[in-house]
């Protein structure tokens, strides 16, 4: 299931995914990417997050999120209303061009974050199965993406 959360640490891409580890960054994540979830003394949780769990070349990245263990387990047990996401994909990731509808299985969804200064747009990263990762700009807010699978 997809779940939004404040990521405080994400040890991937030289830590740039969370530039400010005091305030964290909001991401839409997928429970089918999480591994070894543990509760920290401050009641945040640590885990290892796989961008692509189907690819043996990809290891899990250490992550700390501002959530509780019970909330994580509840998200893992939540049955999504649909198994696909349909997004309005900007051609060439250019906001000045037209959009086209694109449907992505949520099993392949890796993570998403709101575009800076344009919260109604989001960047989505999803897996091309075990082969590759794709990043696209879409005309959907994070809330809209989450609403689709509730």
């Amino acid at each position: 299931m997809l779940f939004p959360d404040v990521v405080m640490k994400w040890q991937a891409d030289s830590w740039v995914r969370v530039p400010n580890q005091t305030t964290g960054a909001i991401y839409l994540l997928n429970t089918n990417r999480v591994d070894s979830v543990r509760e920290l003394p401050n009641h945040d949780i640590s885990l290892y997050y796989f961008d692509n769990p189907y690819d043996h070349r990809d290891n899990g990245h250490y992550m700390v999120i501002n959530s509780t263990l019970a909330m994580m387990i509840a998200a893992m047990d939540y049955a999504p209303g649909t198994l696909t996401l349909t997004v309005a994909h900007y051609l060439n990731d250019d906001r000045t061009l037209a959009t086209s509808n694109l449907t992505i299985p949520i099993a392949d969804f890796a993570y998403a974050w709101a575009q800076t200064n344009h919260a109604t747009n989001s960047w989505i990263v999803y897996a091309d199965k075990g082969w590759d990762m794709t990043r696209i700009l879409v005309n959907n807010s994070l809330a809209n993406l989450l609403f689709q699978v509730l």
């Binding site: 591994d35 796989f50 043996h56 990809d58 047990d77």
Partner: protein, 183 residues
């Protein structure tokens, strides 16, 4: 997808030289039951064949420790469930998608001067990641080996205290995996 406990009669694998079932367990000699109990995961199974006779349920299948990893070859498993029973396990709905593993630090339950006894660390993994659960021979009433996978990347084996929500593995009567039995 679900976890289920079964008595494995044969387990031919390349990773562990097919030693997951000791010779004593394999032959059922020395007063032991033939085979060894494991908890398996239905999401690792392909090519299920029914080998049952009228009186004895039995099936054979290919089993992948890590089905997502193209480097991983399958094992051949024969167990004491019929194909119909295995199919029923496929359709079981687990109570939760999250499994809490009380992991024993250093895989060492008793501690030593070098690895002092420490409390277990509760670690949650997805049920889809569990490859199998095996009995811990020195103390099968309190510990199990849990093998789970981290994505397609690698396999991890950890010693855990028994989660009371799991089916028990302690009904076997064999002793240790090093027992080879009389020659």
């Amino acid at each position: 997808m679900s976890l289920f406990v079964t008595r494995v009669l044969e387990w031919e694998d390349e990773r562990d030289s097919s030693n997951r079932i000791s010779m004593m367990e394999d032959r059922g000699i020395g007063g032991s039951i033939q085979g060894r109990y494991f908890i398996l995961n239905t999401n690792r199974i392909v090519d299920l064949l029914d080998l049952s006779t009228l009186a004895v349920p039995k099936s054979e299948f290919k089993y992948f420790d890590n089905p997502f990893d193209r480097r991983e070859r399958y094992s051949r498993v024969v167990c004491d469930h019929s194909a119909a029973q295995i199919i029923a396990h496929f359709d079981d709905v687990p109570a939760s998608q999250a499994v809490t593993l009380p992991i024993v630090p250093h895989n060492q339950p008793w501690g030593s001067p070098y690895t002092p006894l420490r409390p277990t660390v509760n670690t949650v993994v997805g049920i889809w990641a569990i490859a199998y659960v095996d009995r811990y021979n020195p103390d099968p009433n309190h510990y199990v080996w849990v093998c789970y996978t981290k994505g397609a990347f690698k396999r991890v084996e950890v010693l855990c205290t028994i989660d009371i929500g799991w089916p028990t593995l302690t009904s076997t009567t064999t002793t240790t995996s090093r027992d080879q039995g009389p020659v």
